[in-house]
């Protein structure tokens, strides 16, 4: 590697470098600044992310391969990086007060989120299984720790432990697949890997390898059969982290899946069948099990499984439209899910946990505005127009039907009708029950800003999807 190449590579990965440097500085700074300076970290972290976003924007104009083909800064990664930025910044906003209430505020909290962000960014940009793996681990290691951040709460410890063990198993499976790919093709680059298999009928060993890799990745997005961690982890983790995990790492997982699947490796095989089965089962499981949940966080966990299933339908479609549909889906899902989590987080105040659905009975009476927002998010999650959630699903269906998978589309919509049931059940609770107690939501300006932003996104993308659709398509078509 020459100095110029190194410089070019560093330039291409500037956003990542900014985030990691910022995280390191904050890590040290956090030990020097006294306690009770939470707002400093929030704003410093936000500043870091904004700087990275600026860098990403400046570099978005062209495709920049870097680090001898291990990394690439292209439109695809830019799109995902912005999803990550949004998710992270909103998580920062939501965390400020919540962390205070839970007593977990520390600089490490923000630093870990920043590191997780950098991991996700690397995942989105990785073009080599090695860089992919490193990014993945950087992300999950941080989320492991963040999951267990409520140190005095056995539930949180337990969630973290489950997450870490199952996560490690999935990583091992993923790596085993990678080692097989390496053994069979002699390369770990996604391009090289694809080149090694195009044309010929797929070697069964390669298929096995792909299955292993898919299994490992499927874990990260919480799809069947590696979904069992999701509800427990979502329930046990601090709610802000749950919100973050349901959006950021999930999107990152999909970024990787799409990158791998965009390659002829899978296009040339019948792997879509496997993926289709995963999609159907995931969505069915998420939808049906969510029906019987009483805990809001668990419900949202199953809901996120169901949504992952729906997004995987877009992967099944596989075409450029399918890819773009998954990307758009993730963007929209981030908006609405962070919104609904924002409400749940806000409700955590005093002795009120806000985790039980029944807790929200009669919420509409005392806080009509917030209830309206909740209504918006919930109907968006259910996929009812004119919210963004509808357009997300619509586009996935368009992609599916374009490829001729009409039956899959029918299954998808029927399952989403099932899923709609549990969302409107919550609407029922907040609108049609009498209040059991007084609500005292922890509404800070930051939380307000988050809710406003997500509501705007949820409604805005639903009503005027064109621009975002173009962004997603441009990210795919433009390389």
């Amino acid at each position: 590697m020459t100095a110029t190449a190194l410089f070019q590579s560093a330039l291409a990965s500037l956003p990542e470098i900014v985030v990691i440097t910022g995280a390191c500085i904050l890590l040290i700074l956090g030990q020097l600044v006294g306690k009770g300076q939470g707002h400093v970290f929030v704003w410093a972290s936000v500043a870091v992310v904004l700087m990275a976003a600026l860098g990403t924007l400046m570099l978005a104009s062209e495709v920049r391969p870097a680090y001898t083909g291990m990394f690439v800064a292209d439109g695809f990664s830019v799109f995902f990086k912005f999803v990550f930025y949004i998710a992270t910044v909103l998580t920062f906003f939501l965390s400020r007060k919540y962390a205070d209430i839970e007593g977990i505020e520390s600089s490490e909290y923000y630093v870990l989120l920043l590191f997780a962000l950098s991991g996700m960014m690397i995942m989105a940009s990785a073009t080599d299984l090695l860089s992919l793996y490193v990014g993945l681990e950087l992300m999950v290691l941080c989320t492991y720790v963040l999951t267990g951040f409520l140190r005095r709460e056995p539930r949180s410890n337990e969630a973290a432990l489950k997450y870490v063990i199952l996560g490690a198993v999935s990583t091992a499976i993923f790596l085993y697949g990678v080692s097989l790919i390496y053994g069979l093709t002699g390369t770990t680059q996604l391009d090289g890997m694809a080149a090694a298999v195009t044309g010929d009928p797929l070697d069964p060993g390669l298929l096995l390898a792909v299955v292993f890799i898919v299994a490992g990745l499927v874990f990260k997005v919480g799809a069947v059969p590696f979904h069992m961690w999701v509800p427990d982890v979502y329930e046990g983790a601090p709610t802000t982290i749950t919100a973050f995990m349901s959006v950021g790492p999930k999107a990152a997982g999909f970024a990787v899946i799409l990158r791998v699947f965009l390659n002829p490796l899978v296009a040339a095989s019948d792997a879509w069948l496997v993926v289709a089965v995963i999609a159907v089962v995931t969505m069915a499981l998420g939808s049906f099990v969510a029906l019987v949940q009483d805990n809001f966080k668990r419900l949202l966990a199953y809901s996120s499984i169901a949504h992952a299933g729906f997004a995987i339908f877009g992967v099944v479609a596989g075409s450029a439209d399918g890819t773009a549909s998954v990307m758009l889906y993730l963007l929209i899902y981030s908006m609405m899910n962070l919104g609904i989590f924002g409400i749940v987080i806000m409700m955590r105040n005093g002795d009120f946990s806000g985790e039980i659905i029944e807790d929200y009975a009669g919420f509409a009476r005392s806080h009509p505005g917030l209830a309206l927002l909740m209504l918006l998010y919930l109907f968006s999650l259910a996929g009812i127009p004119p919210t963004a959630g509808f357009f997300a699903k619509f586009y996935v269906l368009v992609a599916l039907i374009e490829r001729g998978f009409v039956m899959l589309a029918v299954i998808a919509v029927l399952l989403s009708a099932v899923a709609a049931y549990f969302y409107i059940r919550i609407v029922m609770v907040i609108y049609m029950r009498e209040p059991q107690r007084a609500f005292d939501p922890a509404l800070t300006p930051l939380v307000r800003a988050t809710l406003a932003f997500t509501a705007l996104g949820t409604l805005g993308i639903g009503l005027f999807p064109e621009r975002f659709l173009r962004l997603a398509q441009g990210a795919v078509f433009g390389g």
Partner: protein, 491 residues
Amino acid sequence: MGLPLLSLIVFTPAAGAVVLLLFRSEDAVRWTALAITVLDLALCIAMLAGFDQSTHQMQFTEIHPWVPTLGITYALGIDGISALFVFMTALLGWICVLASWVAINSKVKEFMVSLLVMQALMLGVFCALDLFLFYVCWEAMLIPMYLIIGVWGGDGRVYAAFKFFLYTLAGSLLFLIGVIVLYFHGGRTFDILALTGQDLPFWVQSWLFFAFLIAFAVKVPMVPVHTWLPDAHVQAPTAGSIILAGVLLKMGAYGFLRFSLPMLPEASVYYSTLMLALSALAIVYGGLLALAQDDLKKLVAYSSISHMGFVTLGVFALNLRGLEGGILQMFNHGITTGALFLLVGLIYERTHTRNIPDYGGLMKVAPVYTAFLALFTLSSMALPGTNSFVGELLVLSGGFAANLAAGAAAVVGALLSAAYLLGMFRRVALGPASIGARFKIRDVNAREMAAILPLAVFVLWVGLYPKPFLNIIDVSVKHLLAQVLTKGSGQ
């Protein structure tokens, strides 16, 4: 081109809903809502005044790109068929506001907002010339309607709201799949007019026909999928019932007219017998169930099923009289059944019971009310001189022309309706004034009168002089029929 009249009509209630959010006083909310709905009605009348009855072309069209990447446009336009429904929707809008003036006493603002949003979406459905836009409005209606039933409904409102929501959602999602399939078969466009001219293979048409059928049949509702309707009607507040009966049920039939027939003519012709059979079943089954009801609202609800059976029967008779009768009957049903629900609502506000045996001798305590009840009851059973007579007669003659058995079933249905409606009227209004002993009943006041009177006017107007109404739809129906029969006869 000038004024985007249709957009104004559609967005006036929507904008009004936003304005309402700013108010605090309940009375201000009520008056504003009334003003908005009246304004909307005025716009509709203006639209009808400028409507050209001599062409089947879409009028007042507005086309703006919306999501060009996917060929989605914001396209509005009306022909004779939709014009009638737009008018009816606007007409019922302000009546709904009046009907809920005192009936709704909690969360008034939210209710009125829901009502106005609902109206905007309904108008959007009837005006849409883009399938995507149509679908968005069609499905978005679920949200306000769910809330109207679920929040302001009766004791069993939660269950009813759920049932309504899930039935309709499941149906419309399949419709969505159909729409997307159509999109690809029709050359990647959601333009309704562009899609009507297509020659789709028969198997595609068949699949789409059934996909559409499920969605529309749920809305109409046709018999196997009708069970949400009695629950929803019974539990909904009066205004909700009026909207349900007056507009929502029409959307299914409208869907048949707008999509199934012109876009899938071969399948429509091919499966018309099946549709006729289902319609006949709905007529007789609905009538029989209505006969067995002791609950006023349920009775009216089941009568709706029966009457909507007439509508679909007329539509799928696939002849001019049948179609025109069906469409007119949709309008009539909106007026008559809407009025009946209104009347039931009014009496319920006074007695808080809907149980028919609790009533009796209403004529003596509330003569004006009883007079209206008599008029609408007679209208509902299609007495000559009332609106329904015209529509039902056309449907029957069309039905007999198409299929003897279906026509016969329709006659049975008509007789049944006479039986349950007269029975109801007798038990409620005639006999000793037992009801006055238990409840203090006052007669209709001015506000209620204002709500009922226009409907009564339309009952008699259509009954005695239906020509203006038939004129509006005539050309469009003929064009539609021509489309179906030329394409469909190839089968």
